[in-house]
Symmetry: C2
Subunit: 360 residues, 2 copies
Amino acid sequence: MSQPAHTDAFQSNANGTVKSPGALEHGDDEGAPIVIRKQGNFAVGGRVVSTPGTYDPSTQGPQGQTHHGDHAQVTYQIPADARALPLVFLHGSGQSSKTWGSTPDGREGFQNIFLRRGFPVYVLEQPRRGNAGKSTVSSTISAAPDEQRLFDNFRIGVWPNYFPGGQFPRDPASLEQYFRQMTPDTGPYDAEVIASAISALFDRIGPGVLITHSQGGGPGWLTAIKNRNVRAIVSYEPGSGFVFPVGEVPPPMPAATAALEAAGVPDAEFDRLTQIPISIVYGDNIARAPVADKGPDHWRVRLSMARLWADALNRRGGDATVLHLPELGIHGNTHFPFSDLNNLEIANLLSTFLREKGLD
Amino acid sequence: MSQPAHTDAFQSNANGTVKSPGALEHGDDEGAPIVIRKQGNFAVGGRVVSTPGTYDPSTQGPQGQTHHGDHAQVTYQIPADARALPLVFLHGSGQSSKTWGSTPDGREGFQNIFLRRGFPVYVLEQPRRGNAGKSTVSSTISAAPDEQRLFDNFRIGVWPNYFPGGQFPRDPASLEQYFRQMTPDTGPYDAEVIASAISALFDRIGPGVLITHSQGGGPGWLTAIKNRNVRAIVSYEPGSGFVFPVGEVPPPMPAATAALEAAGVPDAEFDRLTQIPISIVYGDNIARAPVADKGPDHWRVRLSMARLWADALNRRGGDATVLHLPELGIHGNTHFPFSDLNNLEIANLLSTFLREKGLD
């Protein structure tokens, strides 16, 4: 039988609706071809644990065997005529490199967008997550249903209602993709383990800009403290792990979810964070004062903490900015601004930051 | 300060030795740039489980919450001027899409090689593995050391010795990458769950060629039984899951590891596998008669079973071939021929198969 010229499976149009699966169509490209000078993937960082004794190949018992774990996995793409500094992308809780790939409705995410803009991109799976699943600590994984909680806490709406004017697509197929892009921890979450692996990546690739999301914020700060090759950080909706000078740690901030606590680090470590530009970005539907809705209240205290944190950095000569998107006239963003319907507008803000700081 | 033009991190030369991390160099490209018409990723297939009741956003209790799991994750790249039929790549046990990415010593794997040869490529994480980690069944993950057993059973050598003339690179950094590309199951292994998700992918993309490795062999046969869009299968070192007509199941084959058992399927299902070309490829250091070394003996019975299976298919009009690489004069291949030092030679065999069967 005759074969159609191959087109990819994920058919979407400009306003984010998904065409029926199996419908092969042409002409849905989102731009010119991407010219890749080189691409690949590798593990970086990590530890080795072993069982004492000598390995016996005739029994293959545990004695003398090793276990490599706690590394990150990195997928990189270097475009032709690349800019000097790469962008390194770290996902948040329950996520993988998929965070920066195709959006839930099949549009291009930040990986493609910034490749098209000439940046080398490195997308991570942090240690003990996704393809970097080998942990040096055993773990259990629960299949307990929790997606409605996440729909709420990630500020898509209050289940089953979407926030009016929200930037998340409304079709069921997109929500299904969103739920399926999550993937569990395969070992205990450990910010130091993560920061060590990402620091090893920066040792290897040299100077670059670190882009983090949500839970990735904390390991991101720790990585920049460890490694001067982190030349800037852009953090989307950091949710925990704010580190202050030991004498300046703010009190816990109660919220409708759980209280948010900051941690203390030695002044010398904190001061490392004043040496690089830092941009923090939060979306819409974050409460200004305490409310019962858990999503808007959860992020109320995080936005407040981020502002205290930027103030603490800037008091010591830092260059930290908190962008609350609605204050810029950009409305409806969820906890995932980089994959929301207006993600090109969000990408433009990142491009502007990189240009203004001389990083592009 | 001035920035060097960016080069990627993973520096390797033609004979597979790895340069020191952090050494930024130019001129190590393995070929012309790759022109990508479109690339992205998505989840496909899967199930939804839920907790009875109605979700209450004020408590976020379990009632009425859903859990999407058991999908595959797919990363696709469509080159410019693509051939008609895509190649769909399914990894084996303890592996992810990384199987087909950069080799342990940083050369190009089958993903890049076949992109360069003009094929659309879809690389999978099967359900309950890597970035497709969300399982509908809870699980535990062990960090028990077992890498020396895998070194042996994947026929790199008998730990700590490499097989003479083997095609695995000898530097420690490559072995470390090899161990770190493994990632555990995040739920119970279930060939039917995997085949269902991959069949859903073929529903979506239309006709294509399925390339499997090791444990992926079994779900691959099941996928072809389910879905006529699987136009051919090339299986590297299938290790289990051989399905025979119910009346023709061979007896278990004892080995120095565990006995290999085949399964029975209805004749009508088996006959579906006679409708497509099937190529099965095994590497070197597989015993001809029972031996104590577990790796060579483990694969002795698998190669024997594959030959029985191909005979059973061909007796019913099938088109199945078993390539034992040493019989072609290709020596030293491990359980991962597609990433061994001679993987371009192995790729050429695949290209020849695709051309001979009219699939390119």
